[in-house]
């Protein structure tokens, strides 16, 4: 239909309607609460580790389809991965977000997250897509520090 469909890909709307791991589990190594100051979107995110592996990520929050889908996809992607793998994936996602629409993203690394490629053409929405990723980064650093 139109340019907007690049932003709102099917995958994103699916995750938005059926968000993964959107229920805070009670056991965690670190919990963070992040806010997007410009729109008021909020997220609480719990991380638990198993040595250098990510045992679980769970979350709750309010936000737009982009921020909700992005964190939902993140949990699918990162649970079970090592911290090193998670770092790689995060870097790759960050890179995609800053690409101003020039890149499609590596499906082998980013899987469903490539559906968010269109966000990079809407500068004001990049921070929506990053809200969950920033929260995860913060939480995983805290969780590692605790060990």
């Amino acid at each position: 239909m139109m340019q907007l469909d690049n932003l709102y890909q099917e995958v994103i709307l699916d995750h938005y309607k059926n968000p993964q791991n959107k229920k805070l589990v009670l056991e965690y190594d670190a919990q963070v609460h992040h806010i997007n100051p410009s729109c008021g979107d909020e997220i609480t995110l719990n991380v638990s580790l198993d040595g250098q592996s990510i045992r679980n990520i769970s979350w709750d929050g309010v936000g737009c389809s982009i921020s909700q889908a992005s964190v939902s996809i993140l949990t699918d992607l990162l649970i079970g991965k090592t911290m090193e793998q998670a770092q790689e994936i995060s870097d790759s996602f960050m890179h995609l977000m800053q690409s101003k629409g020039t890149e499609k993203g590596d499906e082998n690394v980013l899987e469903d997250a490539v559906a968010l490629a269109g966000v990079s053409q809407y500068p004001a929405r990049i921070k929506c897509a990053l809200l969950g990723w920033m929260a995860f980064k913060d939480a995983s650093v805290q969780a590692l520090a605790k060990k």
């Binding site: 139109m2 340019q3 907007l4 729109c39 936000g63 389809s65 982009i66």
Partner: protein
């Protein structure tokens, strides 16, 4: 006489540009910032091309002309507000104006009428923009004074039921928005001003959302200080107004210090010029002040009554049509009694960011989020809202475009 928005729109060059895939721009975000007519843009350019020099700082001809241009703009603003010329202070924005009054009060020594201390109180409201809330929080923290606030009712009105206990003998300042930038609510001032003056408090009015849209007469309102931004009133960015009653400006300590605001300076001390100079440190934002003068000249020509009437009729149309859309919930008054052309709403489960993005794809510019009034948004029990804010150049067709856009978004995200 009435206003023809189609003719008006021709004065604003940006309104003929297109958005995204060639969509005509429908600009419904004037509450954030208004667009500028050619006469304003050219007033600023012409100042640079013909008269630029440091005002009040030279005896050469250009400096004289720059001074004339600046002071002429001040006179236009004064007349617009029904104020005295020396009561009008050029700042960079409403935000600076509100920081000016709150920092200046913080600078007042014991014995000065503006001095604040523990036991004193400052009254604001729950519907304040951050610019008229945080400076007072900070002043309270610095001085030990207590911050109190009027609550907002479910209908989006100030709850004045407790006015006598809210504004009491401890109150030194009541700082209030004239029109809410989220709800569109226009606050009734008579009773508040009377009560404030009865207890010896001053009233600071945040007129960001009223001065652009209706006749604001500082004398008949009876207020003490007023703040607004030029960029919301078809004027340039980078200029705002701080107005205060002459006898109060006399006692108010300065805020920014530096050149041109002094009477005498030694290495260890300084004394101050009279108002408005005392509050205008440094080389002024001359081109922007001149542009603001041109903006008010333009608005005067169109007529503030015409502008207000036009916005009332558009807002009534919008309120009427938007309420027919299933799942739309308006935050703020549903009728036109004491309300302006700012309409915020939610649309079912569609997040305002997503709605705004969809509307943008249709060329329609609205604002989404907490609109710098986060405590109010929280109080309303929503994470965010979508806001359409109208101005003189908007048309009934644009209202229809918004309403259809919302319906289409419901299908898109449905």
């Amino acid at each position: 006489m009435s206003l023809n928005p189609y003719e008006i729109a021709k004065d604003f060059p940006i309104l003929s540009r297109t958005i995204r895939d060639g969509k005509k721009l429908v600009y419904l975000d004037s509450g954030a910032t208004s667009q500028k007519p050619n006469v304003v843009i050219e007033a600023e350019s012409n100042f640079y091309r013909m008269h630029n020099a440091a005002a009040h700082r030279g005896a050469h001809q250009l400096a004289e002309e720059a001074t004339d241009a600046l002071e002429n703009a001040r006179a236009i603003v004064a007349e617009f507000l029904n104020a005295e010329v020396d009561e009008v202070v050029f700042t960079k924005s409403a935000t600076e104006s509100l920081n000016l009054i709150s920092y200046a009060m913080g600078n007042a020594e014991p014995g000065n009428r503006f001095h604040l201390k523990a036991g004193d109180s400052i009254v604001v409201s729950e519907m304040e923009h951050h610019a008229n809330l945080i400076p007072w929080q900070q002043l309270a923290a610095r001085t030990g004074a207590t911050l109190k606030w009027f609550e907002v009712t479910a209908e989006g009105r100030l709850d004045l039921s407790s006015i006598d206990s809210m504004i009491d003998a401890t109150t030194k300042v009541v700082a209030l928005t004239h029109q809410s930038n989220v709800l569109g609510t226009i606050n009734p001032l008579t009773e508040i001003v009377k009560r404030a003056h009865n207890v010896g408090a001053v009233v600071v009015l945040d007129a960001c959302q009223s001065v652009p849209h209706m006749k604001v007469d500082v004398k008949s309102l009876g207020i003490d200080f007023l703040a607004f931004s030029g960029h919301k009133t078809v004027g340039p960015t980078g200029v705002g107004i701080f107005w205060g009653r002459a006898e109060l400006l006399k006692d108010l300590p300065p805020f920014l210090t530096g050149g041109s605001m002094i009477e005498n300076v030694t290495m260890t001390s300084a004394t101050w010029a009279g108002a408005p100079r005392k509050f205008e440190a440094g080389v002024p934002n001359m081109a922007q002040a001149v542009g603001l003068g041109a903006a008010f000249t333009y608005l005067n020509k169109v007529g503030m009554e015409n502008i207000h009437a036009h916005e009332v009729s558009l807002t009534a149309l919008l309120l009427n049509e938007i309420q027919d859309i299933p799942e739309v919930k308006i935050v703020g008054p549903l009728d036109m009694n004491l309300r302006g052309g700012t309409v915020s709403f939610t649309v079912g489960e569609i997040h305002p960011h997503d709605l705004g993005q969809y509307l943008d794809s249709q060329g329609i510019a609205v604002r989404t989020g907490h609109h710098c009034a986060w405590p109010l948004t929280r109080k309303l029990g929503v994470p965010a809202t979508t806001r359409a804010s109208l101005y003189l150049y908007n048309t009934p067709e644009e209202i229809h475009a918004l309403v259809s856009g919302i319906r289409d978004a419901q299908k898109y995200f449905g």
